[in-house]
């Protein structure tokens, strides 16, 4: 499952605005994406998950400013720091090596250009030696890859259904066989059946072509089925990082636990669930200490003034890291720094049956 890293993010910080009016949208984000892996980024609106993705690809627009950290991309010709890269380098890497599928396919496609023109545009820019016939051939191949017939080549976006448009977006992102595809809520606006069809196809393509995916969504229940590793974000920080099964069966951060308790189950007894009290904080008025402490049922005194860092939980959770991956899991919570009594729901051990 895990291979060598393709994208390493270290201590990334992003602000919106500078000086007094500025707010910090992403704080000290550290992540590693490996070849062929699906990394899920989950969080509520305003948690910084999209900002993080745009900062990594240097697509962040003013007033967004990257104020610290590094982003190392392992490309075919060596390691490259994306935050240091100049415009020409970025132009070479974007789409070719790292591509993005945006949330709203309705708005991301050009309404006055036909599908074939939009599909071959990237080929024309990045593969200039290809002739017109070869480009068309590739466009047909790409559409077939995502389950759309050749006859749709001359269609305009408005002639396609929402699901088809999202498929075209995915085909475009895969046009140059990138190493990394970043997907920002790619199926949120779609019906569940269409969503499932597209995700099934996407996972098959990933296995066949070997690209890695950063999948951003607010739907944690979907992510647990889909992702290998999940990072949970809250108020701009990664608060928990673990492989999907351990995150689901033995969460360590109280926010993760609360999120998991916010999705009603499809099976079993109906029990009243409580979700999380309160509402996510505004970035302009973040609580001191751990940003989650006002909503946390297990908050300690120090949570109100000291911010916990993302570290490996002190309590062993009983399961070895999958395939010997280093640093199996991490949580940013004072309960797990040792010496504290860990409440039972946050001390669950992953069953040996898994």
């Amino acid at each position: 499952m895990t291979g060598e890293p393709v994208l390493e993010v270290r201590d990334l910080c992003v602000d919106y605005g500078v000086g007094k009016g500025g707010v910090r949208a992403v704080t000290d984000a550290t992540l590693t994406l490996r070849r062929g892996e699906v990394l899920g980024l989950a969080g509520e609106s305003g948690s910084g998950k999209s900002t993080l993705a745009y900062a990594v690809t240097r697509l962040l627009r003013a007033p967004g400013v990257i104020t610290g950290g590094e982003v190392r991309f392992h490309g075919p010709d060596g390691v490259l720091d994306l935050l240091e890269a100049d415009a020409a380098t970025l132009r070479r890497i974007r789409w070719d090596q790292i591509s993005v599928v945006f949330q709203s396919a309705m708005h991301a496609l050009n309404p006055v250009a036909r599908i074939d023109a939009q599909l071959t545009d990237a080929l024309r820019a990045h593969r200039s030696r290809l002739g017109a016939a070869e480009r068309r051939e590739r466009a047909v191949e790409l559409l077939r890859l995502v389950g759309i017939g050749e006859e749709r080549l001359r269609s305009y976006p408005h002639e396609l259904s929402g699901g088809m448009r999202q498929r075209v977006m995915i085909a475009m992102a895969l046009a140059l066989e990138p190493r990394v595809v970043i997907m920002d809520e790619p199926t949120t606006a779609l019906d569940v059946v269409t969503q499932r069809e597209i995700l099934d196809e996407l996972m098959q393509l990933k296995d066949r072509l070997g690209f890695a995916i950063v999948f951003i969504t607010h739907d944690l229940s979907l992510l647990i089925e889909l992702a290998d590793t999940i990072a949970i974000m809250y108020a701009g920080r990664i608060v928990e990082l673990a492989d999907a099964q351990r995150l689901f069966h033995s969460p360590r951060h109280p926010y993760t636990l609360g999120l998991l308790n916010s999705f009603p189950a499809l099976h079993g007894e109906r029990v009243r669930m409580e979700g999380i009290p309160g509402a996510p904080p505004a970035l302009t008025a973040l609580p001191a200490g751990c940003a989650f402490h006002p909503r946390c049922p297990f908050a300690l005194e120090r949570c109100a003034h000291e911010t916990p860092r993302l570290t490996e939980p002190a309590a062993p959770d009983g399961a070895p890291a999958p395939d010997g991956a280093p640093a199996g899991r991490a949580a940013a919570c004072w309960l797990h720094t040792g010496g504290e009594h860990v409440p039972a729901p946050l001390a669950r051990v992953l069953g040996s049956t898994l």
């Binding site: 509520e44 609106s45 259904s161 699901g163 019906d191 569940v192 059946v193 269409t194 969503q195 499932r196 069809e197 099934d200 607010h218 739907d219 944690l220 229940s221 979907l222 647990i224 089925e225 689901f248 609360g258 999120l259 998991l260 308790n261 916010s262 999705f263 009603p264 189950a265 499809l266 099976h267 109906r270 009243r272 669930m273 409580e274 979700g275 999380i276 009290p277 509402a279 996510p280």
Partner: protein
Amino acid sequence: MTSTDTARVVHGPKRPGTPALEARGLTKHFPVHGGLRRGRVVRAVEDVSLALPEGTVTAVVGESGSGKSTLSRLLTRLTAPTAGELLLDGEPVGGSARARRAYAGQVHLVLQDPFSSLNAVHSIRYHLRRPLKLHHGLRGPELDARAAELLERVSLTPAERYLDKFPHELSGGQRQRVAIARGLAVRPRVLLADEPVSMLDVSIRLGVLNLLDELRERERLAILYVTHDIASARYLADTVVVMYAGQVVESGPAVQVTDAPAHPYTRLLLSAAPDPHRREPVVLRGRGAPPSLIDPPSGCRFHPRCPLAMPVCAESAPPVRPAAGDQVAACWLLDPERAPGTAPA
């Protein structure tokens, strides 16, 4: 169940007595204006009969275009039906202006988007006082006392902290609570909630669903919960009604419908829903997209997507038949004469 020309099945929770709101044979065809299909109609809702007894939650589940929102708008009388009638406490609803206002005082709608359903230039106090003035003729200090009481009923306490706030100062969940409080101001019997939590952050959705649950218990409201999320329908509702292409395809007790679905479309919906407990890969029970409602498929509208379709499905529409207990479904597989040897699992 009454038998007129054809036996009509009324969906919704089964309770003794007269339901608070009943719809009989509601049908809505929207005319198509202009273009090549001018003069034709979109068959958005076809012959839906629904009973909403007090103290119950009925969930209407379906994909976009299934007619679930049109149904809730028909029930509010914001949209006039092409055919069918509404009965409030067993009495046919009149068409006069006075009857309309009385109806609005009994049946209230909570909209999907609390960011646009509240007026940005007015305080919460204003939003809550309006219905109290217009429907109950309250004046003076009593108004504020009642407004504060309304906020307490939706757990926005202390009320003084919220009364003078403006919508933009509240979170999405708090705004949705204000929208519900405003609905309660008229002392309705029926609350129609059209996707009330889909625009809210995940962590605060349950709070609003639990509030609806408390209102059912405490105020004995009849609640219609329209959603695309079958898991939340299972969580909240007494009865789940599944709609497809403008028709009800299945209804029954919430847990029964989700644990043992009788209609192939319900099975498709359930197989596609996110489920962290799922161990084996997803097997989708059917493919494709919902049909055009201008020219719906003949027979059963689901047959082009149905993995179990039989020749009869393309020819004639299946009748609604009992599946188990109070669970009913419109599927030829439930017909002992038509179904092949194997009954649906």
